[in-house]
Symmetry: C2
Subunit: 202 residues, 2 copies
């Protein structure tokens, strides 16, 4: 940080920089452990100044989680080109790597360790929905997933499954490699979509 | 309750009866809304007596959630006889009906609205694992699901997917019938197991 803090930053730039630091700290600790005191110490500035930027601890947590969610969405964006399943493959690979790199903070969000905060829970739910809906937005021609009520449900399920699988795999890989994990997740999408086409439709 | 309260019950029987009432109240409200006061009013006994049975509010919540979890496990037990997928079908049908009938309380557990209580979270996780592991215990011959690290992962994912699908479906059925939902969930299991057999193994 030494080089950048010497430059005069606008308050918006300074706030963004502090949020990035918050996101970085969240990678290896839970949200409960991410205090204003810790951020102040790591940033080398006063607690008072942090309260000036963020108002209170809850608003600070909300802003960090929103920034982390934006990062996750950006980092897992599928490439613009390529065959549909290859693009899903790239996106899922990025997701697995993101969860591995940011395990503690991610886990604390999933577990709702945010102490039942509705606004943070809402950011989490919106991010998860966004990542699922991307399957429909990114493939408007419906080449992987036709857009029906049943496939919408199944894609939500696939998103939940993906999260659970990655967290279970990090906890106990049991010899399953990262590439196998990614292959299972990618192939699960067309397999589950296939089920909606076999099962009786409403 | 009138008939039974006239009978002299042992403290254990009385406690179990109070827990059943708690589980019943939890069906239509969140855990946060299930207070000792409410139970006292519904049971027609004093708050003091409830504290005598349960110690404190947290222990009361823990006992109610454990009882609800035991009920869920019992009600979704697959029948002893029948073809493997028919038994999964019966179990999933019972699960869907259980979540519909106990929606508020179930949702509050899933959302971690328990205010981040570790012990209640642990009951929830154990119940979910149990329901997934049943696929292996109930089919020791491996006729649906061979027992490998990859299928263990996939079954955990399928359990998470099942929960997410049922809750999403209750929130917005969008014309998907209960029978279609059950068919999708049941058929997803062999479809996902099939994926582990196609994907490269470690």
């Amino acid at each position: 940080m030494t080089a950048t803090t010497r430059t005069r930053l606008t308050p918006e730039q300074r706030r963004a920089q502090l949020l990035d630091l918050g996101v970085q700290l969240l990678a290896t600790r839970s949200l409960d452990e991410l205090s204003i005191d810790l951020l102040a110490e790591e940033a080398g500035i006063s607690r008072g100044l942090l309260y000036h930027y963020f108002g209170n601890k809850h608003a600070f947590h909300e802003a960090v989680v929103q920034r982390a969610a934006d990062d996750l969405i950006a980092q897992t964006a599928p490439p613009v080109d390529g065959a549909p399943l290859e693009r899903v493959h790239a996106s899922i690979t990025a997701y697995v790597d993101y969860v591995v790199a940011n395990h503690e903070g991610y886990l604390s969000l999933v577990k709702g360790a945010a102490g039942g905060s509705e606004s943070i829970r809402a950011i989490y739910e919106r991010t998860r929905s966004d990542m699922g809906d991307r399957v429909f937005r990114e493939h408007p021609e419906g080449d992987i997933v036709p857009d029906t009520p049943a496939t919408r449900l199944v894609v939500r399920g696939w998103t939940a499954m993906t999260e659970e699988l990655v967290l279970s795999w990090i906890a106990e890989p049991n010899g399953v490699s990262r590439d196998d994990l990614v292959a299972i997740l990618v192939e699960s999408l067309p397999a589950l979509v296939g089920v909606t086409q076999v099962a009786p439709e409403a």
